[in-house]
Symmetry: D2
Subunit: 343 residues, 4 copies
């Protein structure tokens, strides 16, 4: 059975596992106070071009989003996100559980439009009743988005400017950041992101790690962030588990090279569908490919390949997602190409 | 430098690491839906003698306490704990962050007294103003306690009876459960705990795993617990990381054998202090040993051994903690014995 | 200056004030345990045709919505409301502050459509990822809606059936309930509402009281609701303030007769605008009238009458709200008619 | 039946009721934007000697405590209170519901000791594990305390200094502030309180109003406090109800003169008990008197007077509270004196 269900279907890259194994019996202090964690932070800040920033490691995406967002917001504030944003839909209300509303603006192929954001914020602050409403307190973006799409540097700069115009920090959810930066469609660098966002995270769970996300604060973390992390159940006793993994991922550019491999696999996969005549739902430049299938096609393909049904799209058809990752092999795509019938 | 700072200072037991490595490239579905997680659950329920129960894996202790407790409590309820309980002191207000008060009763060497619990609950429900107060909604115990002490089977049965008399579930925090069960002072078995507690967790982070706690619900989990876990940021995408580790820990009794080793080391360590004439703060039967040192003694020992300062105890003296774990070797204790001066 | 800004611009109906004055020096116990509160509850339950139900008095609408909704929801649940619902827009995130998401469905002139509600709930429970999403846990409606519109008995029955089909309670926000029931367009009675909703409130603040809303639970209140109310800061020490007022409002049908007066005034006001050629934004059958004005018209009218600007509606025009209440006098409408120019 | 149950057993002072009646039909805008509210604020700031401060009116004590405290605290912070403080015991967990722990220090006749507060704060900030604990973020005092006792000016200054030494604001709960200031034992003025506390409230519910507490911020309110109030369900649509009452209470010193009357009654009541030989539990200088009774005495007195049982005090005896207020008449005390037997 071929596996294209998601990008977290395997363990960790071998170099990550090896680093865990070789440091396994070293006696290290807890909660991220060990030297591997320190080294990983240093390497990440160097890669992001913000040596004076802060880095914290958390274990998963929803946890990271909730912990970071609630550290920035005051009780009367909410987070502005696309209506398709992960925090707005698929985090089981984690943001609301911490007391904050997710305020939504329209999504265009998963992306927020800077002009619409500006208009939304302008309308809020000029509404005569705005003191009876939730104040926008932070702007949340995903890069790549939930639909695999990317912002251009100009688009991200415009969103950053719109947020800052109203005094709001910009937070970028980089659960798949590596796959965005490695895309041929990307005109952004990690330092560009550090320059435009006030806080972002570099996803590890989906890019080579067993677990772990690196939260980067280019201009420093909010006060007492460690205690905030602890309170939110997100402080690992064995912080080394995260530090050692990111130390490996940011050694010799591993994070970037495995991301490029995934993108090569994604482009190869996309070409298979195009060659066979299957329509794409979105022309995604990253590791998630969204294809439109009929019910019959989906059932037939499901006999030899696993994928995820995304949403119905009318006429009895459906959008399905085929995801690849650092762990996908060219042979997997070749096998799919060999068996997938022409449409 | 000898290491007795804590019981989470090393990585994972080699068999755990090996199981992670050997399953690393298998394609598995996420969020704990994989066969290794299923197998680990089955093994744990068998070991606990409650085959119809439920098991969920979470990544750390504070997260587990907050997620489990808030799943049981309604808004007007709080958790009853010892004043020295982990949730009352060292979780940065995680329980309160989820909206619930920690109601405290006295601690005796870290232990709750069943008669005092009963008296507390009786006083609450007969207080004419109790509708203006936080209702006790769950009883929280640690086993072993934060001071390394253990409840006897009779004591635990009495606490269980007191809680149930008022309709409250009993929750047992087993961050160091293995070290409790392996102690010569323990007259309880895992099935005993499953029979007396309504929910408990088997700690992995401190007992052989990189991370992970197994929450056991002998009579089944609360409705929609998976969504609750997700909302609390505690659902790992790569659930395999937890499932595979506990599958290894509950194969061939590994969890119990490594716990027994730790207890052997702890008893050997205790004997070193007793032989050299150092007073114990508490006669702990488990892996944490609490010793009373003068300032001068502490400074001298700190030159060759790491330990944790626990609290001042009058007369310029202090309580310090020496912790051992599954990873401590006999040679470490011998080395300490060779260098520690007689008092 | 004529006053049409809102329906809470005056104090209390004279009979309400008089009842407060005549009972003022009686020594009464607190927190709603007094005989006036008991009598008011009895009268309300009789009027609603559910003598075995419960009634609680709270002081204001947002407080009532937050307190009632959070008493029904578990952590993983949210409240389903129209996108224009008061809890979704104008309560400063009170529902989210208590940890719950407001899940929105489209509004049609402020009303929820039963078929759309059913489709929304069906889609949720059949979504393969719904365990990662906020569960709908209660349906919230306003009657009259924020746009002054009313549900017919059939519409409300269909909404009730749709909610109950999925096991969700139906909650009806009756901040202006009197004005709904008194409308000629209304085919519902108070007992009808008690039969279709699981909980609703009878608004006092906007209908003759200084403050106060009567929450009615036709089948009984959730457990320990008093403590829940206290925790939410909503339990008045001088519960008499609310009980005495509702005792007056539900004596000799005062609540209903003053509501009918307000509706007479509203219809008279609507006719003035129609006669003068001003377009209505919505043909509201209740005490709030929404008129479309040009900027110039609005400025001119603002010189002799106060109203509220609601929202822009294109072409430089705006929707404005003229509200009447139990306190509006026919002379006020006549004065407006005398001065308002023909369009 | 004589009434000494509490100090909120009657309605409002007649001058307050009269002011409500005389302004009843004036058309006023909502949410505290009316001129009576503005006037009341001005009068209160003048009386407190801080004309540049801010005043907000809320409806009750628990609501006020929760709303004010949560406006000051960040997620990782808690409020320091006496173990007998109202927020620690009798507010049904309202502070915890807003996410914050109540950190307790010992109470001495209901009072906090400045040296103990300083020691507590010093111990916290020097604890090596304090980043894993709840940070103290505000100091909460009651004046008078829950036991009717008062801080001297020196004591309050010392507490203020201790809080400020660690950067914490001092919040004073003045539910019975009038009765404290009017006591012969009081050496503080309202301006003294405004100089020593960062925020405090002047209780109206227990001192002449139907409801209402005036929160005074001598140096200005936190940002967006109105929205915070709204989110916490504490913003009254008819803000006039609070503004008009406080306008009356702060006209011609009414608040102070009715408080003095209550204290006269309290001293007269205390003398009755002393003359008859009943022991006092605490020598309270304010309107709450705590008397020790045997079970038989309590039962006998309960036949002609209502009071509140406070707590058992050993030997089968109990502490009971006799409360007087602005509404208590000398004849009530005389009647008690006439019937109460000598002990």
């Amino acid at each position: 059975m071929l596996f294209f269900v998601n990008d977290y279907g395997e363990g960790a890259h071998e170099a990550v596992l090896a680093h865990l194994a070789e440091t396994n019996r070293e006696h290290l202090t807890g909660y991220g106070s060990d030297p591997y964690t320190a080294r990983a932070k240093e390497k990440i800040l160097a890669a992001a071009g913000c040596p004076d920033g802060d880095v914290y490691f958390l274990s998963g995406g929803t946890q990271t989003n909730e912990t970071v967002i609630s550290a920035y917001l005051r009780t009367w504030e909410g987070a502005v996100a696309c209506e398709t944003g992960h925090i707005a839909v698929h985090e089981a209300g984690a943001i609301e559980h911490s007391g904050h509303k997710v305020l939504t603006v329209p999504a265009h192929d998963g992306k927020m439009d800077a002009a619409e954001l500006d208009a939304y914020l302008a309308a809020f602050f000029t509404d005569g009743n705005h003191e009876h409403m939730v104040f926008p307190g932070l702007v949340y973006l995903s890069y790549p988005t939930e639909y695999g799409t990317l912002y251009t540097k100009d688009e991200l700069a415009a969103l950053s400017a719109a947020a800052h115009k109203y005094g709001l920090p910009l937070y970028l959810d980089g659960a798949r950041l590596g796959y965005g930066l490695a895309s041929p469609a990307c005109d952004l660098t990690l330092p560009d992101i550090a320059a435009l966002a006030d806080v972002f995270y570099i996803g590890g769970t989906k890019v080579g790690a067993l677990c772990g996300e690196a939260v980067v604060f280019p201009h420093g973390a909010p006060a007492h962030f460690l205690t905030h992390v602890k309170q939110h159940g997100a402080l690992m006793a064995k912080g080394r588990l995260l530090g050692v993994q990111f130390d490996a991922l940011f050694t010799d550019g591993l994070y970037f090279s495995i991301s490029r491999h995934a993108i090569d696999m994604a482009m190869k996969l996309k070409q298979v569908f195009l060659d066979k005549g299957y329509p794409l739902y979105i022309d995604s430049p990253t590791n998630q490919q969204f294809v439109i299938l009929t019910q019959a096609e989906a059932e037939e393909i499901a006999e030899y390949a696993q994928f995820e049904v995304w949403e119905p799209c009318g006429g009895g058809r459906m959008v399905v997602r085929f995801a690849v990752s650092w762990a996908t092999e060219a042979a997997d795509i070749d096998a799919l190409a060999a068996i997938l019938p022409e449409k």
